[in-house]
């Protein structure tokens, strides 16, 4: 009975998916209604999940049925909150976009819910095969979503690219699982952790190879260089709502499993991967910056910059390996920060795209601030947060990541991080410059107050509050509160 409250959010999401599938079979329901229903189910899931946040918990989900397959901890709860709120934001902000395009049907929304269900499972997963199934549930839904606009070549190309490469790396995950199973005789995280603790590194070749293969999948999914080839094209080819969903929500889900694996299971042999990770981090930071700096289309620039952000997160991961206690909360905080900023920036792009159908290059943003002053202001906030400008939550994210890197002695890596942050100022500020510094010959458009703009403005306020909010107002999680949440999540892991 105790487990019920923890499984209800997942059930709610799944039920929503089925309801939408059934509704989608008939073509009488409007897109708007689909959207409302989806959001309704997600809000139920979110509320239920939130109500468990303050409960004391330990143990596993229905231990008598599933054994130790699903764990219940605050870590999973906080991730689930991010997934559901990410999906809610995606759907609400894109309300106008859904209306402006004809190809969104019931299945589309069902797929979003399926992928959220997969992610929630992933956050709870405490066993490798379950993790794989959860990961693939989420991924398959996202593959389909990326290519959802069948008549668009770029979209289909993106889907194929993503699916073929993604499935290939999925095979690595399976191989890694098999090898780990061969070594330990189990796929459960408990037993793997026990095995790792009781053996010397040199006796665990099989397990180490397996774990490295798992890491390949994870690095692919977050788009780390040299596994990044798909990122820009897929982000570009996907419809705006899906780009937003992938960048803000799906990427975080990968970190849920990565953190669990590397903090719990392989904690005592983390140092083995440190040098490898450091090299990949350096490549990711520099490669991502090079990609982002050369783009003309804003969406592609954001895609490129999302690689750089993966690089910052990798700095945190390699700091965990060296044994910095600050690193894990830093990653959590950075995830929250990046989640907000990328959801906002992609959201605003799709909001603009819902009103004119052209591709948005830097040039198209010339004079934008004169046409849409409020949207431009909000967009600037997102850009500043992504660039890590102080007084936004993005700055504090970088602050924690860099201090954790210094704490673990990776001073050069921290220096490189700061250098790439400087480079990122160029391509983010370029957009602000385009918006503000050129006159516009078109008329001023009014700031329409509807659900999309309200949500976008809400994220912008949250970003600023997360950057400067004081600890004096204890009931609102400001700059101080978010890091406390992140710490609690990490503590609950151990």
């Amino acid at each position: 009975m105790n487990s019920l409250i923890y499984i209800l959010p997942m059930i709610s999401v799944l039920a929503g998916a089925f309801v939408l599938m059934l509704l989608g079979a008939k073509s009488i329901t409007k897109t708007k209604t689909f959207n409302l229903i989806t959001v309704g189910f997600l809000i139920v899931a979110f509320t239920l999940e939130y109500s468990t946040l303050f409960l004391e918990r330990e143990g596993y989900l229905y231990e008598n049925i599933f054994a130790h397959v699903f764990i219940i901890d605050k870590f999973a709860t906080i991730f689930n909150l991010m997934f559901t709120s990410g999906a809610i934001l995606t759907l609400l902000i894109n309300n106008d976009y859904f209306k402006s395009r004809h190809y969104f049907t019931g299945e589309y929304f069902a797929l979003i819910l399926f992928s959220i269900f997969g992610m929630m499972m992933l956050a709870h997963a405490h066993e490798l095969l379950t993790a794989f199934i959860a990961l693939e549930t989420a991924s398959l839904s996202v593959y389909a979503l990326v290519g959802y606009h069948q008549n668009k070549k770029v979209s289909s190309e993106a889907m194929l690219k993503y699916m073929i490469l993604g499935s290939l790396t999925g095979a690595f995950f399976i191989l890694g699982t098999a090898l780990i199973y061969g070594a330990t005789g189990s796929t459960s995280f408990d037993i793997i952790a026990l095995y790792v603790e009781n053996h010397q590194l040199k006796d665990m070749t099989l397990l180490v190879v397996g774990a490295t293969l798992l890491m390949v999948t994870i690095l692919f999914k977050i788009g780390a260089v040299p596994f990044h080839a798909w990122v820009v094209d897929v982000y570009h080819g996907a419809p705006y709502p899906i780009t937003m969903f992938m960048a803000s929500t799906f990427k975080i889900a990968i970190f849920a499993i990565a953190l669990r694996l590397y903090i719990i299971d392989f904690s005592s042999i983390n140092y083995f991967w440190t040098e490898m990770l450091q090299v990949i981090t350096i490549l990711t930071l520099i490669g991502g910056s090079l990609i982002a700096i050369n783009q003309k289309v804003v969406k592609r620039m954001l895609a490129g910059s999302s690689i750089v952000h993966s690089g910052y997160l990798l700095i945190g991961i390699s700091s965990i390996g060296i044994g910095s206690d600050l690193a894990a909360p830093a990653i959590m905080f950075y995830l929250i920060a990046y989640f907000l900023s990328s959801a906002g920036s992609f959201g605003i792009l799709s909001f603009i795209a819902s009103q004119n159908k052209q591709e948005m290059t830097y040039e198209d943003f010339k004079g934008f601030a004169h046409r849409r002053p409020y949207l431009a202001l909000i967009m600037s906030v997102f850009m500043l947060s992504l660039a890590g400008f102080p007084s936004t939550i993005g700055f504090l994210g970088k602050f924690y990541i860099f201090t954790s890197a210094i704490d673990s002695g990776q001073i050069l890596l921290a220096g490189l991080g700061i250098l790439t942050a400087f480079i990122s100022v160029y391509y983010y500020f370029k957009l602000i410059a385009m918006m503000y510094f050129y006159p516009s010959d078109k008329v001023v458009q009014k700031f329409s107050i509807d659900i999309s703009t309200i949500m976008i403005a809400f994220i912008a306020l949250l970003i600023i509050w997360g950057g400067i909010g004081t600890s004096l107002l204890s009931f609102l999680p400001g700059a101080n509160g978010f890091i406390e949440i992140a710490k609690e999540a990490i503590v609950s892991l151990k």
Binding site: T403, F437, I468, N480
Partner: protein, 484 residues
């Protein structure tokens, strides 16, 4: 009373936000902005009255901000920050008067945000808080140059932003590393200046950390070699932005070295002293030469400002009370003079639509009042006796002579070089035959009123320095007493 500094920092921002949310009409916006600057001025007057020159840091507010990372909202005022603070609040009302005809609303908002940024940077005593304000004050400048500037303003705006952010990123690295060293030593995080000053670094690390801070500050000043953003940015920025950049932000570079550099890395800075003094001396000469050969009034005074800021930096690194007193005094007087000068240049541009020295001329015949103010500010930048600039330059030069003869000799060269380009410029701009058929109005009453306070202050600082010295002399003796 302890909240007064908080009010001083955030009042303009608060009023800007209120006006923005209410979508205030232009007229209300103007009144609001001006009102905020006057209110802050009054608050600062209260602070000055209450200020105890013999005390250390005063009116301290110390509130938790991000506790787990040891970041506090920690502000306070001492003689050094009081000087810069007074300057800021003195310059804002005249600038708003200057902007009186400005119709673009963003302009006004940016000025208010800018004021919060610079005051915050001056008063904060927590390194992260300082960094926050230091970066924040860049944004309005970025927007103002880019949106309201002239010439290649988009490019120049991006250039100044990127260069200064490069500096502040290197400073951020140093700040983080210092915070970490504190954490390693004491087991908790802290970025408060007074706590961090207890640390001692190993020499190797210290060199790097100091370099991180210095890079940020010398780019902001800018010393020669880090100056490539200066002339283009000054050239394309609108007048209020130029005034803030040259009178306040450049001084914040000096202030930063003084406050953070000398508190944290007293000894390491000695290592950098020859280097800084050398580039400051080169700067004195280089900027003077550039100023002589420049035909655009605003760019010319950009170089002149660079030259005098090099002098201030030099005075700061010559470690004796004359030079330090001179530097502090020069921070104030140069800010007043260059603010007046750049406002005059702005007025010239409003009248002639050009700043090319060759197409100006013969102003003296038509507009005596204008000529008086123009010449007065130009000469007080050059440092003629009777203005504050003279006292300050004299003190720095005496300090330099006390250090060694050659340094003193080279330093006094600036005064000479400034005289050359200022007088030559005055002769070409104000006198001779009019080259320009534009009808030319003399200063009207409003413009006179806005410039008069600056003139009075400059004369007062020049004739009776004893009025002001009691405020910072105890501070300096104490500082140098500790140092030696």
């Amino acid at each position: 009373m302890s909240n007064i500094l908080t009010n001083i920092i955030f009042l303009p921002l608060f009023i800007a936000v209120i006006l923005g949310v209410l979508r205030a009409p232009l007229k209300l916006l103007k009144v609001g902005a001006f009102f905020s600057s006057i209110l802050v001025l009054l608050l600062v007057v209260f602070v000055i009255i209450d200020f105890d020159p013999k005390g250390n840091m005063q009116l301290i507010t110390y509130l938790p901000w991000i506790q787990s990372a040891g970041i506090f909202y920690y502000i306070g005022v001492d003689a050094l920050s009081l000087v810069v603070l007074t300057l800021i609040v003195l310059l804002m009302p005249p600038l708003y008067l200057y902007m009186y005809h400005e119709k673009r609303k963003g302009y006004w908002y940016n000025m208010m945000i800018l004021q919060t940024g610079v005051t915050g940077a001056v008063l904060s005593l927590d390194l992260m808080l300082f960094y926050l304000f230091w970066e924040t004050m860049l944004l309005p400048i970025f927007i103002m140059i880019g949106m309201y500037g002239s010439g290649m303003h988009q490019y120049n705006s991006m250039k100044i932003t990127l260069m200064t952010i490069l500096g502040s990123m290197s400073m951020l690295f140093s700040i983080l590393y210092i915070g970490y060293i504190y954490f390693e030593t004491y087991g908790i995080w802290s970025f408060s200046l007074d706590k961090l000053s207890l640390l001692s670094f190993n020499p190797q690390t210290s060199l790097w950390l100091t370099a991180g801070f210095l890079l940020a500050f010398v780019i902001k000043i800018p010393l020669v070699g880090f100056h490539t953003w200066m002339a283009p940015a000054y050239g394309s920025a609108p007048t209020p932005a130029v005034v803030i950049m040259s009178s306040i932000m450049a001084k914040l570079g000096i202030y930063g070295i003084w406050r953070f550099g000398f508190t944290l890395f007293e000894e390491t800075l000695l290592f950098y002293t020859p280097f800084i003094i050398t580039i400051a001396l080169i700067g004195l000469l280089y900027y003077a030469i550039r100023a002589v050969s420049e035909n655009n009034l605003r760019r010319m005074f950009a170089y002149s400002s660079g030259s005098h800021l090099s002098l201030i930096a030099l005075g700061l690194f010559v470690n004796n009370i004359y030079a330090w007193g001179g530097s502090l005094y020069f921070i104030a007087t140069h800010a007043l003079a260059s603010a007046g000068m750049f406002i005059m240049i702005g007025l010239t541009y409003q009248r002639f639509r050009t700043l090319d020295i060759n197409s100006l001329g013969g102003i003296a015949q038509k507009a005596p009042l204008f000529t008086f103010f123009f010449a007065f500010f130009a000469l007080s930048i050059a440092g003629i006796p009777g203005t504050g600039g003279f006292v300050a330059e004299l003190l720095i030069i005496i300090g330099a002579f006390k250090e060694n003869f050659i340094l003193g000799f080279l330093t006094s060269f600036t005064m000479l070089s400034a005289m050359i380009y200022i007088f030559w410029m005055l002769q070409r701009v104000l006198f001779g035959q009019p080259n320009n058929s534009t009808p030319f109005a003399d200063l009207n009453i409003k413009e006179t009123l806005m410039l008069l306070p600056l003139v009075i202050l400059l004369i007062l600082t020049g004739v009776v320095p004893s009025l002001f010295t009691p405020y910072f002399e105890p501070y300096l003796t104490q500082l140098l007493g500790v140092a030696s």
